[in-house]
C-alpha cells in the first residue's frame, strides 16, 4: 500500500471549544479540541465552571451542617454522598450506627445507584442519538425519586443521613412500596436492553470506542464502572465493606475489553445487583432505633481519617483533618470519582472522531458538581 497522499492544498488543524455550553457535555465541562477534519488530535478538559468551594465551606460548619453540601456534589445520586460523609465523621468520632439505620442507608444508597445509572443510560443513549430510552428511564427514575420524597421530603438533595444514623425512620408502608418498585424494575431493565444491547448501530457506536486497558485504568486511578469495565474486580463495597454490605450477597460485574460497550453492560448488570441488594435489605430489615446516642455538639479528637464508599460513579472518599475538640474539620478533602475518571478522557478519545467524544464523555458518567466541588 502506498503511503498517505500529499494534500493538494494547505490543510490546517481546527481548534474547537466543545462546551461549556453544549448539549452533550453533561453540565459545564469544556473540552478544548484540536481537530484534523473530524479526527481528534488532542483533547483537553477544562473544568472549574461550577466551583462552589464546598471543601472550604466544610471548614466552618459543624459536621451535621455539612451534610446538605454533600448533596450537591454528585447531585444525581445524593444518598451515597451523604453516606460517605457520615461514615467518615462516624469513623472520626468513634460512633457505631444501629443496624436498622445501616440497612436503611444501604437501601437508600442502592436506590440512588439505580437512579443514577438510569440517568446515565438516558443521557448516554441520547448522546448517541437514541432518544426513546431517555423517556423510559425517566419513568422509573420518577418512581425512585417518589420514594425518596416520601422518606425525607426531598427528591434530589436528600440530606437523608446524620452522623450517628438517620434523621427519620421509614414511613408506614414505605417498605411495601419500595419492594413493589424493585420487583418491577428488572422488567424495565430488560426493556432498555431490548432497545440497545443487541442493536447493531448501538454496538457499532460503542464497541472498541474509548478503550482503556486494566493497567492504564489503575494508573489513572479510575474507579467504578470505568475500572470494572476494563476487567478489574474492584468495588469498595466488597474490598472494604462499610455499613452492612458484608452481610448481603451480590456480584461485581466486570467487562473484558474496557470499551464503551463493556462499561454499558457493567452498569446494566450493576443495576440488577442493586435490586438484589435492596431485596435482601428489605427482607431482613431489623427493628430498633435509627439513631445512635450522640452528643448534641460533636467534638472531634485530633487526627486524620479517610472513609470512602462506592458511589455510582466510583470511589467517593472524604478525608478530615481535625484538631482536638474541634466542632468542624480543620481541612476536608473530597475524592470525587468523576474528577479522577475524567483524567482518562484525553487518552480515551485521541484518534477517535468527534462523535466518539460524546460517547466517551457519556460512558465516563461524569457529574460536574462533583468535579468542581
Amino acid at each position: 500500500m502506498a503511503g498517505p497522499l500529499e494534500p493538494l492544498f494547505d490543510v490546517e488543524e481546527m481548534e474547537l471549544s466543545f462546551g461549556p455550553q453544549h448539549p452533550a457535555t453533561h453540565g459545564v465541562l469544556r473540552v478544548q479540541l484540536r481537530l484534523d477534519g473530524e479526527k481528534i488530535m488532542d483533547a483537553k478538559p477544562i473544568i472549574g465552571y461550577l466551583h462552589r468551594g464546598t471543601e472550604k465551606l466544610f471548614e466552618r460548619e459543624s459536621f451535621n451542617q455539612c451534610i446538605p453540601h454533600t448533596d450537591r456534589l454528585d447531585y444525581i445520586a445524593a444518598p451515597t454522598n451523604n453516606e460517605g460523609f457520615v461514615l467518615a465523621a462516624e469513623k472520626l468520632l468513634g460512633i457505631t450506627v444501629p443496624p436498622r439505620a445501616s440497612y436503611i442507608r444501604m437501601i437508600l444508597a442502592e436506590l440512588g445507584r439505580i437512579s443514577s445509572h438510569v440517568l446515565w443510560l438516558a443521557t448516554h443513549a441520547i448522546d448517541l442519538g437514541a432518544i426513546t430510552p431517555f423517556f423510559y428511564t425517566f419513568r422509573e427514575r420518577e418512581r425512585i425519586l417518589d420514594l425518596f420524597e416520601e422518606y425525607c421530603g426531598a427528591r434530589l438533595t436528600l440530606n437523608a443521613m446524620r452522623v450517628g444514623g438517620l434523621p427519620y425512620d421509614l414511613p408506614d408502608g414505605w417498605v411495601e412500596r419500595c419492594s413493589e418498585l424493585i420487583d418491577s424494575l428488572p422488567k424495565y431493565f430488560d426493556e432498555y436492553e431490548t432497545l440497545l444491547t443487541e442493536n447493531r448501530i448501538w454496538k457499532k457506536r460503542t464497541i472498541g470506542i474509548g478503550v482503556i486497558s486494566a493497567e492504564e485504568a489503575i494508573d489513572y486511578g479510575l474507579t467504578g464502572p470505568p475500572l470494572r469495565g476494563s476487567g478489574v474486580r474492584w468495588d469498595i463495597r466488597k474490598v472494604f465493606p462499610y455499613d452492612r454490605y458484608d452481610e448481603v450477597e451480590f456480584e461485581i460485574p466486570i467487562g473484558e475489553n474496557g470499551d464503551t460497550y463493556d462499561r454499558y453492560l457493567v452498569r446494566m448488570e450493576e443495576m440488577r445487583q442493586s435490586v438484589r441488594i435492596i431485596r435482601q435489605c428489605l427482607d431482613r430489615l431489623p427493628d430498633g432505633p435509627v439513631m445512635a446516642k450522640v452528643p448534641k455538639v460533636l467534638r472531634a479528637q485530633e487526627g486524620i481519617v479517610y472513609a470512602s464508599v462506592e458511589a455510582p460513579k466510583g470511589e467517593l472518599g472524604y478525608m478530615f483533618v481535625t484538631t482536638a475538640k474541634s466542632t468542624q474539620p480543620y481541612r476536608c478533602h473530597i475524592r470525587p470519582p468523576s474528577f479522577i475518571n475524567l483524567q482518562a478522557l484525553p487518552a480515551m478519545v485521541e484518534g477517535h472522531l468527534v462523535a466518539d467524544l460524546v460517547a466517551v464523555i457519556g460512558t465516563l458518567d461524569i457529574v460536574l458538581g462533583e468535579i468542581d466541588r
Binding site: P23, I131, L353, A355
Partner: protein
C-alpha cells in the same frame, strides 16, 4: 386563454397548499407518535388531541426574533439569508413532479387538467426529481458555511459528503424499476404495477426487487437527514448542525423542508415500489370519483411510510460519520448494482 391561466393557478395553489398543510399534520403525527412510543402523552392541550399545536408552534416561530450571528456580513449574509429559501424552494419543486392519483382525462372549464393529479406529465419525471433534489444539499452547505460557526460548518460538510454518497445509491437502486417499466415517467411506472401475478401477488416492484426497495428506502432516510442518518444536525455532537444559528421563520423553512422531503420520499417509495395508487383487484372508477379514490389509496400508502419514518426515528441510535460513509459506499452501492444486474438478467432470460 384566461381559463387556462386560471386552471394553472388553481392547480398550483391546490397542490402547494395541500403539501404545506401536510407539514403541520406531520409535525403533530411526529410529536404524538413519539409520545406514544415513549410512553407519555405528547401535546394535548391546544385543540382536540392537541391538533392545533402545530398552528401555535407556527405562530410562535413567526413572532420570534430573526437573528443573524455577528461576523456574518457581505456575501456571507446574502448566502445566510438565501440558504433557507433554497431548502424550501427545492423541497416544493421536487414534489410538483410527483403524481398522486389516477387521471381519467378530467376537464375544468373545458381545459384538460392532467397536471393536477398526475403532475405536469414529465416524460423524464424521475430524472427531474433526482436533479432538483440534489440541489437541496446547497442549502445545507451554504447555511453551514455562512453561519460563521464551526459546528454549523461541520454539519454542512457532513451534509455534502452524505448526500452525494447516498444519492448515488438511491439513483442506482431505481434503475431496476425503470428498466422493467421501460419509462422515466412516474405515471408509466405506476401503471406497469397494476394487476397481479398468479392472481394474488400484487405486481408491485417491491416483490421482485426487494434489494432495490430496501436500498432505496435506506437511501431515502439518508437523503431526508432523518435518524439514524441525521448526522448533519446531530444534536449531541454538533448542537444542531447547520441550522444552529437560525431562528424564527428561517429555521422554520429548514424544518418545513425536512417534512416536505419526507412526504416526497414516501411518495416516491410508494410510486416506485408499492404500486402507487393502484390496488390489485380494484378497478378505479372513471371521472372525478375515480380520481378521488385513487388519491385516497395513494394517501393511505404514503401515510404508512410517513409513519415508518417517525417510527424509525424514535427507535434507533445514530450512526457515526465514517460508518455512514462506509455503509453508503461499501454496502448500499454494491447492493443497488446487484439489484439492477439481477433485474437485467431476469429480463434477458425472459426474452430468450
Amino acid at each position: 386563454m384566461w381559463a387556462e391561466i386560471l386552471v394553472i393557478v388553481i392547480k398550483v395553489v391546490v397542490v402547494s397548499s395541500v403539501l404545506l398543510t401536510l407539514v403541520p399534520i406531520m409535525v403533530w403525527v411526529e410529536r404524538r407518535g413519539a409520545a406514544m412510543i415513549q410512553d407519555r402523552l405528547g401535546p394535548n392541550r391546544v385543540g382536540p388531541f392537541g391538533l392545533l399545536q402545530p398552528i401555535v408552534d407556527a405562530v410562535k416561530l413567526i413572532t420570534k426574533e430573526d437573528l443573524t450571528p455577528s461576523g456574518v456580513k457581505g456575501v456571507d449574509r446574502l448566502l445566510y439569508l438565501l440558504a433557507p429559501s433554497i431548502a424550501l424552494v427545492v423541497a416544493i419543486s421536487v414534489f410538483i413532479a410527483v403524481p398522486f392519483g389516477f387521471d381519467p382525462g378530467l376537464k375544468l372549464f373545458g381545459h384538460a387538467i392532467d397536471g393536477f393529479i398526475v403532475a405536469p406529465n414529465l416524460n423524464l419525471g424521475i430524472l427531474y426529481i433526482f436533479a432538483i433534489a440534489s440541489l437541496g444539499v446547497y442549502s445545507v452547505v451554504l447555511a453551514g458555511w455562512a453561519s460563521n460557526n464551526k459546528y454549523s460548518l461541520m454539519g454542512g460538510i457532513r451534509a455534502s459528503a452524505q448526500m452525494v454518497s447516498y444519492e448515488l445509491a438511491m439513483t442506482i437502486s431505481v434503475v431496476g424499476v425503470l428498466m422493467v417499466s421501460g419509462s422515466f415517467g412516474l405515471q408509466d411506472v405506476v401503471l406497469h404495477q397494476s394487476g397481479t401475478w398468479f392472481g394474488f401477488i400484487p405486481r408491485w416492484n417491491v416483490f421482485p426487487q426487494i434489494i432495490g426497495a430496501i436500498t432505496f428506502i435506506v437511501a431515502a432516510f439518508a437523503e431526508t437527514n432523518r435518524l439514524p442518518f441525521d448526522l448533519v444536525e446531530a444534536e449531541a455532537e454538533l448542537v444542531v448542525g447547520y441550522h444552529t444559528e437560525y431562528s424564527s421563520m428561517r429555521f422554520a423553512a429548514f424544518f418545513m423542508s425536512e417534512y416536505v422531503n419526507m412526504v416526497t420520499a414516501s411518495s416516491l417509495i410508494v410510486i416506485l415500489f408499492f404500486g402507487g395508487w393502484t390496488l390489485p383487484g380494484f378497478a378505479t372508477p372513471a371521472g372525478w370519483l375515480g380520481a378521488l379514490v385513487s388519491i385516497g389509496i395513494f394517501a393511505v400508502k404514503v401515510a404508512f411510510f410517513l409513519w415508518f419514518f417517525v417510527w424509525v426515528r424514535w427507535t434507533l441510535p445514530r450512526f457515526r460519520f465514517d460508518q455512514l460513509m462506509a455503509l453508503g459506499w461499501k454496502t448500499m452501492i454494491p447492493l443497488a448494482v446487484l439489484n439492477f444486474l439481477l433485474v437485467g438478467a431476469g429480463m434477458a432470460l425472459r426474452n430468450l
